[in-house]
């Protein structure tokens, strides 16, 4: 770095000095009204309505405009939002929500239980991804009065599961806007109407989205901010540049390059942290196709796991934002993370070679035992690095790996529909409860073509039995025990290897106040966010 550049950085650091005080002092400051929050928006979406699509790209925008029934508090416990309270019947088949009074939609119409009924039956159950699986046994939502919604299930629904799912899968849409016409093609999908602290204003595709303060928000005198602007920046380096220039105040969900994250982490103007994303854990996977007889052999799968030095990879490529994983349930999920040690496959090249020899795959010409195609998902820099690292590592034990590069559509079709792969790698998203999006990776009998589900051709009655039992078990302690059995089983059989666990990294400009104050902050409503001048 040249001296002038260094000087500039030093001065700006000095200027930023007054915001460098420890976080505790923030709370003592008086929140200020006004200001514009600018957000890095990396993945444009077809729709912005979180009751139709559950993905971070929708939450980052729609989560400010629409609200869920239940939210998470700072400690990660279910907290009231549009629902003020809830209770479950003893058999777990009826769950009653008492709704907040005096809430109005952005267009002025009152929010009532019919909105909840409509959203649950027409959107969650029919359209919302993950929602349709969660609400599979939801028979009806009864509305005895405008402030009461009674969910009727055909099978017991663990309250804990529902409450942990609803912050993401419980967003409510206005019935009067959606009730006529095709929900998927409704123009409101890209110009959402909600009850949240910010009202949608404008969406310039490829450029920006603007939302402005909702003056009639039900939380008195909130929000603090005047506007939220989402800037569409697909190029990650460009986003980092805008972050540094102060054009963007917040970059969510690990949208910058690893190099830039590490660099900005050393810059006093920014807070680079996993805080506020505890509810958004993911693991890097290595998926084996059991239709390939080589990979159907457990010894080969274990050899592959032993051949890869995961700690080395994390240390040198991913840095502080990842850690070695122990299985499908990440360590942040304290309710379900197994307390006893589970079977692991530490780096041991000798053992890997021995296992491969034992499986009958001797080294041939050029030291190669056999060749596998590895199909990496096209999202995420870490996946690209990880797939290259797999290629490099397996080369050392005599497995030649050809990387098959596909775009998103091609990847999903090839891996999850055509099963035309040997190894695949991508992310497994953990959504607070293993039943939401984790067990489908292992449960047999998944319909062909459903992505991020068990399409490996692996079938294990024991694992299926454990998962089914856990799904409907109402006792939290028993559920936790069942999921420990589940992890033990899948770590032993290794149909998918999940050796790295990551939490999304956010980059905050330190002018922000009250950021990252709940485990799903990037998705949350930001009603108490404010900007220091």
């Amino acid at each position: 770095m040249d001296p002038t550049r260094r000087a500039i950085l030093l001065t700006s650091a000095a200027l930023a000095g007054n915001v460098l005080m420890p976080q505790r002092s923030f709370a003592q400051q008086q929140p200020q009204r006004g200001g514009v929050m600018t957000v890095h928006f990396a993945t444009e979406q077809r729709i912005l309505n979180p009751s139709l699509q559950a993905s971070t790209g929708v939450y980052i925008v729609g989560g400010k405009i629409q609200e869920p029934l239940v939210d998470l508090d700072a400690a990660g416990r279910p907290a009231p939002c549009l629902a003020e309270s809830w209770e479950s019947s003893a058999d777990g088949k009826t769950i009653t929500f008492r709704l907040r009074r005096g809430v109005t939609w952005h267009d002025g119409r009152p929010f009532t239980s019919t909105d909840v009924q409509f959203t649950a039956m027409e959107m969650w159950k029919k359209i919302l991804n993950y929602g349709s699986a969660l609400q599979q046994f939801l028979d009806a939502v009864e509305t005895p009065d405008a402030q009461t919604a009674v969910f009727k299930y055909a099978r017991p629904m663990p309250l804990n599961l529902l409450l942990r799912a609803l912050p993401d899968l419980g967003y409510i849409s206005p019935k009067h806007v959606y009730e006529s016409g095709n929900i998927r093609e409704n123009p409101t999908n890209t110009a959402p109407i909600g009850t949240g602290p910010f009202k949608f204003l404008q969406y310039e595709r490829g450029q920006y989205i603007i939302a402005e303060r909702n003056p009639n928000y039900w939380r008195e005198n909130l929000p603090y901010l005047d506007r939220v602007v989402w800037r569409v920046v697909t190029d990650r380096s460009a986003a980092a540049a805008q972050m540094e220039a102060g054009q963007i105040l917040f970059s969510p969900y690990s949208s910058l390059t690893i190099a830039d994250l590490q660099r900005l982490g050393r810059d006093p103007r920014f807070d680079v942290t996993t805080k506020g994303n505890e509810g958004n854990a993911r693991t890097n996977t290595l998926e084996f196709n059991f239709r390939n007889p080589i990979l159907a052999d457990l010894r080969v799968r274990r050899a592959i796991a032993h051949a890869i030095d995961v700690p080395f990879f994390i240390e040198n490529f991913l840095g502080d934002f990842a850690k070695a994983g122990t299985g499908p349930i990440p360590s942040v999920s304290t309710d379900y993370y197994p307390t006893e040690p589970m079977p692991q496959y530490p780096f041991d090249r000798r053992r890997a070679n021995a296992l491969l020899d034992e499986a009958g795959h001797r080294r041939g010409a050029g030291g190669t035992r056999f060749t596998l195609r590895l199909t990496p998902a096209p999202w995420g820099e870490d996946i690209a690095l990880w797939s290259t690292y797999i290629q490099q590592s397996l080369q050392e034990v005599g497995i030649r790996v050809e990387i098959v590069r596909l775009d998103a559509a091609g990847f999903l079709r090839t891996v999850y529909n055509d099963w035309n792969f040997d190894l695949a790698t991508g992310w497994h998203q953990y959504r607070n409860d293993p039943a939401v999006s984790t067990s489908v990776w292992y449960r047999s009998g998944q319909p062909k073509g459903a992505p991020w589900t068990n399409q490996w051709g692996w079938q294990d009655d024991e694992a299926d039995r454990i998962m089914d039992a856990a799904q409907t078990e109402l006792d939290p302690a028993k559920r936790k025990a069942l999921y420990a059995d589940f992890v033990r089983r899948v770590n032993t059989e290794l149909p998918v290897w999940m050796p790295i666990e990551q939490i999304f990294v956010s980059v905050f400009n330190k002018r922000l106040r009250n950021y990252a104050n709940n485990p799903r902050w990037a998705s949350s409503s930001w009603h108490d966010l404010w900007l220091a001048s």
């Binding site: 690893i258 290259t388 098959v404 590069r405």
Partner: protein, 277 residues
């Protein structure tokens, strides 16, 4: 031939181009010997600056691979793609252009419509579609680049044929009773070839640039050490470790420069009228 060689060797830019090209070919040949390890293998800690570690004179990239090894092995890929794609484009171009230019009439009309269609469609867009459809392994990428590059040589060949077919020596061949195929390939083609050969250098330069642009968008073959792949990878660390992108970019620049200089030298040597200028 002798005059041609003399003409070529007398031009300093052409000689610089030739030497540069020979140097790149030498790099490609010596890659296995200088860097016997797989250039894609993990070589060391990622992102070591050039000159920082004597083992890696050009540093390492963000996958911990030796950049020098990738540059040397990448020379092969770039040259291979350049030569093969050019051969495809020129071959198709010659056949289409020769048939259209010689026969005229509806054959010309039909072939030129096809050529026009290819030229009207932005060629990089077509390349994207081809790679998205047929995948991005090396041979597909090469063939796809060849497939989008033939219209210009075809037009050039056609133009040459249009002027040559009315030349009296061609008419003389026809009065002798020579068959069309023989006239096209044995009589006219050798005369039409020099400008096409010169143009081949342009096609090759563009082919190398196209592959690197594809790689930059991460649509090229990830299993080979290509310069474009390295640039695309380096994009993630551009703001600080800019050398990861800069070094292979320079390599592409020099290669294309060499090819262009050689092409220009050929042109000057083949068209002595222009050489004096």
């Amino acid at each position: 031939m002798k005059a041609f060689l003399r003409g070529y060797l007398r031009s300093p830019p052409a000689m610089i181009g030739l030497l540069l090209l020979l140097a790149i070919v030498a790099m490609a040949i010596s890659a296995d010997w200088l860097f016997p390890r797989d250039p894609l293998a993990l070589a060391g800690r990622p992102l070591q600056w050039p000159q920082g570690n004597p083992r890696f004179p050009l540093g390492t990239d963000n996958s911990g691979r030796d950049i020098a090894a990738q540059i040397f092995h990448g020379a092969r890929i770039s040259l291979l793609i350049g030569v093969v794609a050019t051969a495809i484009a020129i071959l198709v171009g010659i056949v289409v252009g020769a048939l259209a230019g010689y026969h005229g009439g509806w054959v010309d009309d039909a072939l030129m419509r096809l050529t026009e269609a290819f030229q009207t469609l932005p060629n990089f867009l077509l390349l994207l579609v081809l790679v998205a459809v047929f995948g991005s392994d090396l041979s597909t990428v090469t063939i796809a680049i060849g497939a989008v590059s033939w219209p210009a040589p075809a037009r050039l060949t056609r133009a040459e044929f249009l002027t040559l077919r009315n030349r009296e020596f061609v008419q003389a061949c026809r009065t002798l009773g020579m068959s069309d195929a023989r006239i096209i390939f044995r009589e006219i083609l050798p005369n039409a070839l020099p400008p096409i050969i010169v143009y081949a250098s342009v096609v090759m330069a563009v082919a190398i640039l196209l592959e690197s642009a594809l790689a930059f968008l991460r649509l090229s073959d990830p299993n080979v050490a290509s310069w474009g792949n390295l640039i695309g990878l380096g994009r993630d660390v551009l703001r600080v470790q800019w050398y990861v992108s800069a070094i292979p970019g320079l390599a592409i620049l020099l290669t294309v420069l060499a090819v262009s200089l050689v092409g220009q030298g050929l042109n000057d040597a083949l068209n002595p009228r222009l050489r004096k200028r």
